[in-house]
Amino acid sequence: MAQAAIELIGINKSFGAVRANRDINLEVARGTIHGIVGENGAGKSTLMSILYGFYQADSGEIHVGGKPVSINTSNDAIALGIGMVHQHFMLVDNFTVLENIILGAENDVLLKSSIAKARSELDRLEREYGLEVDPDAVIEELPVGLQQRVEILKALYRGAEILILDEPTGVLTPAEADHLFRILKQLKEQGKTIVLITHKLREIMAITDTVSVMRQGTMVATRMTKETTVGELAELMVGRRVLLRVEKGQSEAGAVKLSVKNLTVKDSRGVTMVDNVSFDVRGGEIVGIAGVAGNGQSELLEAISGIRHAVSGEVMLDGKPIDLTGKADPGELRDRGLAHVPEDRHHVGLVLAFEENENSILGYHDDERYLKGPFLDVDAIMADAKDKIEKYDIRPGNPRLKTANFSGGNQQKIVLAREMEQDPGVLIVGQPTRGVDVGAIEFIHKRLIAMRDQGKAVLVVSVELDEIRSLSDRILVMFAGRVVGERGPDATEGELGLLMAGVEHQEAAE
């Protein structure tokens, strides 16, 4: 316990005018779980990237195991026994699990022998930590939750002694997160050191030994987890008191705006992902779809938004059908007042290589407001982007910055700002606050409720039970592609949990 596994001393790092880290000191004791919390853009990922050799600090020292070290590349970090599970996975999409795991650690010219060795080693790791993944599955076909397991296995495979996890539970369900935490505890018992970045303060309370809080690039406090509270941490992060659950009035549901009937969707291999699902969303209500990731919610959202082929069923938008052949023109649906915040903001909702202002018109780029004939009206686009940046407090407030350089939470705000500001009649949102800090969650929830109060129909899919419960007027639970139950906003977590696990209606109701 006594010796520090990692010590960071006086770390500074700027990106142009943005001071991402200023004079950071951090000490992480060996064999402990150390949490780091802070708002979006506070500099957490930057600090860890410095430790992992992705970035070099402008000044400051790093000590690992008591000795000063210089970490210039991630290979240096790996050699020092530091492993990292990234906020945004760094896997090769069309490789198999096994291929991804040995990538960069092939210790033979001929792949064959290393593959055989890797397979048995992987098998051992999987059994030891209960991280089951099919080694021959192709990454892009795995749900995000499993992709993350691959990331963890990858670090362990490389012999990591110090494991950095950047928002590992952002994509997990409570059950999956619990599983992850059991794994982390087991790793800790074996003497490994873990640094955990998360926005979920409950997780910090449940699993860490110590916790540090960052705000706007500085380290503002470090506490023993036992001696602090969620409220105190939230306040330290944001610098003001935060509502952890947004107040909302009674909903006044109006006419049906979105109606889904007997919808069935199959994936490319012919497996039924959405099985005969029917429900309505009325103006003035938020319908939440709960469920463990991978139970058909993603496919449901894609089918409704016209970008995935549905084999049968019907979706009506304001009483008129949506083309479900998978060839629908999303532009036309936008014109009809359907806005869609996709789950996967990195590949679908944003073009990371674009400047912020370019992303703030994605999908609305053929709107007259942004055009002068065939030309983009650069001034109008800029003004519009600045306006959204201000309204949604997107940081840093520079519309010329490349989108990839915004922190995760701010990227999400870029998408939300774009879709909400179109003033749609129906808004469908996948994972509204994935990777978003407490202050911003409060903000986004307030916005969603404000949309509801203006009479819009809002459909929210989230794996966060807390989020579903605090936002929804009605909760649908999906399991294995079917809607297995509907509950009111006062449903208990236990009740929903059982439904999500596929326990039948009557039993769950009791």
């Binding site: 990922s45 070099q56 402008d58 649906l333 936008r334 994605l362 780029h365 010329r400 490349k402 990839a404």
Partner: protein, 379 residues
């Protein structure tokens, strides 16, 4: 954050790295020159003087550069939509057919300034058509554009041989080429511009296509960074999934991008055909389409970079010809080797030195690494 490598400041990215690549290419080329027993420094002097030393040399350099600007732009437009158009060669060749048809039928009745716009349209249309077919096959049938465009280069070559030894050849002629155009289809030279600066020019083919190429470079910039179509092409180029989400039709965008790319390739033919040879001869493109790939890569797909890279390659062509002339030990083929080395280091191995330079920057001034060029490419 999601970039695995730290970033370099823009000046290093766009200035230092290309210069280092170029220097290495020339050093290796120097060894090749030494191998054949010539003095590499003298060779370098001849090369540069041949290209820029005299007025005639400059005019030739810019004439070649004109050709490469067109093919470089062609490759770049497709590349912004993540399409690798290797068919610039064939599209330019077929573009020449369009020009031949216009010139042969109109050169006796119209003056050059009336024929020129018609020929531009014909060249662009024929090139676009030759890009359309592979694009259609990619969009509708999933046939890979790299394969189909290469195949279309061969088809273009066969079609042109067939026509140039047949229908397009004047009766009784032995040469596989069209008859020479009349004065109405000859474009004005630009040599007087260079002469304004006091240089003397014997005879050189530099013509108004050079200005057309510069205008097209500007229009391509406008297209890519300032129009809705360019925005859609770039969106698709970066992420087909995001394009789908944004309501951009995959079929439409692939076909449009390839037609524009083909049109630019076709326009390349104007320069040698109407500006210089005044006929369409067999194999008149002679590899300019492939050079376009190197030019586009070296120019980082940006029109300004492409113009600069095209001038560099123009210099290699012109200076290389002088070199082969002045140093008998250096054959025409050796010049091709030198050009190949530039393509190799500046194009294919573009990122070879990057990690070292980054490491260097990281140790010398860590602050500069990670600094992001806030300005976009289009700025």
């Amino acid at each position: 954050m999601s970039t695995p490598y730290a970033k370099l400041p823009a000046w290093a990215d766009y200035g230092l790295i290309p210069l280092i690549n170029l220097a290495v290419a020339f050093i290796v080329a120097g060894f090749v020159v030494m191998l054949v027993g010539e003095n590499p420094f003298r060779a370098a002097v001849i090369l540069v003087e041949g290209a820029f030393g005299k007025g005639t040399g400059i005019a030739f350099t810019l004439f070649y550069a004109t050709t490469f600007i067109f093919t470089g732009l062609s490759v770049a437009v497709a590349a912004h939509c993540s399409l690798f158009n290797i068919g610039t060669e064939g599209q330019a060749y077929i573009g020449g057919l369009g020009i031949a048809l216009v010139c042969l039928s109109l050169d006796s009745v119209l003056p050059w300034w009336a024929i020129f716009p018609i020929a531009i349209v014909a060249a662009a249309a024929f090139g676009a058509l030759w890009g359309l077919i592979p694009a259609y096959l990619q969009a509708k049938r999933g046939s890979h554009i790299v394969i189909t465009t290469i195949m279309f280069n061969f088809i273009a070559a066969s079609v042109m041989v067939y026509l140039l030894v047949g229908a397009l050849k004047p009766a009784g002629s032995q040469a596989p080429q069209t008859r020479n155009f009349l004065a109405g289809a000859e474009l004005p030279k630009l040599n007087w511009i260079i002469e304004l600066f006091g240089a003397k020019i014997r005879s050189a083919p530099l013509n108004i296509c050079f200005l057309l190429a510069l205008v097209m470079a500007f229009l391509v910039w406008l297209l890519i960074w300032r129009t809705r179509l360019g925005y859609e092409m770039r969106t698709y180029g970066h992420s087909p999934k995001a394009a789908r989400y944004a309501g951009i039709s995959e079929t439409r965008i692939i076909i449009t991008a390839m037609m524009i790319s083909g049109a630019l390739a076709g326009m390349m033919a104007l320069n040698p055909v109407m500006g210089d040879q005044h006929n369409v001869a067999i194999d008149f493109v002679s590899g300019a389409g492939y050079v376009g790939i190197a030019v586009a890569l070296m120019g980082r797909l940006h029109p300004v970079g492409i113009v600069l890279a095209a001038i560099l390659f123009g210099m290699l062509y012109q200076g290389g010809a002088e070199l082969a002339f002045e140093m008998p030990a250096i054959s025409r083929d050796m010049i091709v080797i030198i050009q190949g080395l530039v393509i190799l280091f500046a194009g294919a191995l573009e990122h070879m030195f990057r990690p070292y330079i980054q490491a260097l920057f990281a140790s010398v001034s860590p602050k500069s690494v990670g600094m992001q060029a806030v300005k976009g490419k289009g700025a």
